[in-house]
Amino acid sequence: MKTDLPFEAERYELLEKPVYRFALPRREFFKRVGGGLIVVSLIPTAAAQESGGGRRGFRGGRRPQELGAWLHIGEDGLISVFTGKAEVGQNIRTSLTQVVAEELRTPVPSIRLVMADTDLTPFDAGTFGSRTTPDMAAQLRRVGAAAREILLDLAASSLTQKREELVVADGRVSSKDGKASATFAELTKGEKILKPIPASPPITPAESWKIAGTSFRKISGRELVTGKQTYSPDIRRPGMLYGKVLRPAAFRATLESLDSSTVESLPEIKLVRDGSFIGVTAPTDVAAARALALLKPVWKTEPQISDKELFDHLKKGRRAERPAHAAGSMESGLAAADQKLETTYTVAYIAHTPLEPRAALAEWNGDRLTVWTGSQRPFGVRGELAQAFRIPEERIRVIVPDTGSGYGGKHTGEAAVEAARLAKAAGKPVKLVWTRREEFTWAYFRPAGVIEIRSGATRDGKITAWEFHNFNSGGSAIRPLYDIPNQLIEFHSADSPLRQGSYRGLAATANHFARESHMDELAHALKMDPLEFRLRNLQDPRLRAVLQAAAKNFDWANAKSTKERGFGLACGFEKGGYVATCAEVHIDRSTGALRVARVSQAFECGAILNPDQLKNQNEGAIIMGLGGALYEAIHFENGKIANPRLSEYRVPRFSDLPEIQIVLLDRKDLSSSGAGETPIVGIAPAVANAIFAATGRRLRGLPMAPSGKLEGV
């Protein structure tokens, strides 16, 4: 099987077609940032691609382009980089800065990244899908390289030196003999140069990296340890009020009546009613909460299904779609099999639970609106605001401060719209911070799902048939990388009773859990070692490499399970990253208590931009993944979330921490892929397989041990 497997379209990523994006006129750039050197990255508009614009032929044969990112070196030598990407903990601010520093041969601290501000940064669809590294880091490498070339041109002229005799290092351009030298500031002084990136700027190959590819510490680290980093809920504006929004008693509930007389008589409290929107503002958050509690609404609710009926419901609501993939014939594949297997797996809805809940501060100045909010999609939030208030996007500025995480859970702008509505009514800036209960109820969830697999294999361990049906949870990583001649792979959408959306790794976790559990089941049915069985069906050299690296680090060859100790492994591919995970579980046979004691994970995503941060992402993904694997599940009944509190929704804590070993394979010969998501997909199946190895019990539903114990062991 080829390794350049096309990415499965992720149906739950919210993607919006951009409207027209006209390039800024030259004078606008300099008006904003002053003189100096500006290098812009122009990329084909997504709209042009989607409408087949290339084929239709534009005048002069040129596709419409939009601004992707830009870099400014001021007359003072200060380097600023403008990108619409957001920092949500994945540490992209650091790695993007590193690639620019690399190309400009200048220290990291001399560069400032301006991110995720709709007035200052170019349009960006959003920070999701592990696209920042492959798209934005690649663009910024080109921007930096192009800027370096222009600085060389400027230096050749101002120092009257041959260009080939010049080198760029430490923020200056110097002659090789060291006799002539100029700082970036001296070169850009009095200039107003604006240039797009040439067709192929001489980017530095990863093999030669000195700044990129190193373990640079998080740029904002000092602000974090001193409490000075300003997240959206930390922002204050003069005269600011605090807002609260009245939430329905259940999903799909409608308001029958509202007694707001008490609240309306309160001084300094403003009640805002606009259609189904009801909110209050007050001078303090406690006064706003108190006022909200005094509202007496009567809600009309309707019966709705509960989590107990969920999986039947998802299966019932199936709507056939064309196969995601089909090859050969399942019939002949099964006929050729000595061993057949048919199993069903389920995954629950889970909540992202970012520690920073949704929050926004909105401020109107005349007909202009500014909103600070934690989001992965600043431009998407701007679009939501424009729709909600029927005003042009040009009058709205959305600023996303570095955010207290998202994990795919902050694609939407609910808090921004609510704060803006309250601020409009109050005539003052309004801050709105969702409570944890609101976050657990009115945000969206990782989709629940049911996955059915039917397979067949020969006695000597070759898989002959593979049929895979995913109901509702999504299509990412739905195809195996194993070499299987006969396949039928389908995604079936369903009517989700809960609002669902993106999540770190999204459906790749469910699909890997099912696939890698089933692989383990096949291996055991054939009495083969699970590692050997995988390798026998796998040619992809990159996936083999991580699998063998993880197994070696874990000492898989000597991992012999007992009743108290189980060993399991899993591997997979998604979003350009290859992962293999080995897990050791300990089971207390008297209490059933389960503990994941040790994990070895190997990961490869091309050339590594920052090894320690990549390790950090792998460790974090494993630990977060343990939550969905063992404990986390959203319970609901009749349109109400039954466990909307952290005390009722167990996320991984210190005591869940296994001993973790991360093996990073650095492929400097390959382009870099994102790594915030894929490292999460291996842990659940590795743990499930380890539990089976110890107990002989196959757990086919996530979460596997909500109480921390294995039932009936």
Binding site: G89, G227, Y231, P233, D285, S405, V433, R436, V651
Partner: protein
């Protein structure tokens, strides 16, 4: 409800503001005193993002009324640095890159400071049980444990 003037001893200074009797210490610190290092995470004391030290004891400021803190010594993340020099726990977090999004970091550091003040040389399992009530949703626990081991060494041996 009437607000009352409230003076609190925070980080060695007497700071004044107006407190609503129902107001939490967290909201008073953040909204009245502008000390936003302590964060709201869950409002029920489960996550520890709001942790501050009251008379040296790590306390959930989201579950403590502002008025109840009168007369007590409060330490927040903003008060750990002395003369521009980071507290060893802060320094160790920085060196171990013991964060991703950083939203839990203030609470983690204060919980860690209190732990090391009580147990200067904790074992790994004492660190884990001592920090159990603080959540890092990004899962940087191995780094936080490493940072606290490092900080303990710095504090005991004075090594930097």
């Amino acid at each position: 409800m009437e607000t009352k003037p409230l003076e609190l001893a925070v980080n060695g200074s007497q700071l004044r503001g107006n407190a609503d009797p129902e107001q939490t210490l967290l909201s008073f610190l953040r909204d009245e005193l502008g000390l936003t290092g302590a964060k709201y995470g869950c409002g029920e004391g489960e996550c520890g993002a709001c942790t501050v030290l009251i008379d040296g004891v790590p306390t959930r400021s989201c579950r403590t009324k502002a008025l109840a803190a009168a007369g007590k010594k409060i330490r927040t993340i903003e008060g750990l640095e002395t003369d521009g020099k980071l507290h060893p726990v802060q320094q160790a977090f920085l060196e171990a890159d013991a964060f991703q999004c950083g939203y839990c970091t203030s609470g983690m550091i204060l919980a860690g400071v209190a732990l090391l003040e009580k147990k200067p040389n904790p074992s790994r399992s004492e660190i884990i049980s001592g920090m159990e009530r603080n959540i890092c949703r990004c899962g940087t626990y191995p780094r936080i444990v490493a940072a606290l081991e490092r900080a303990s060494k710095i504090l005991r041996e004075g090594v930097r």
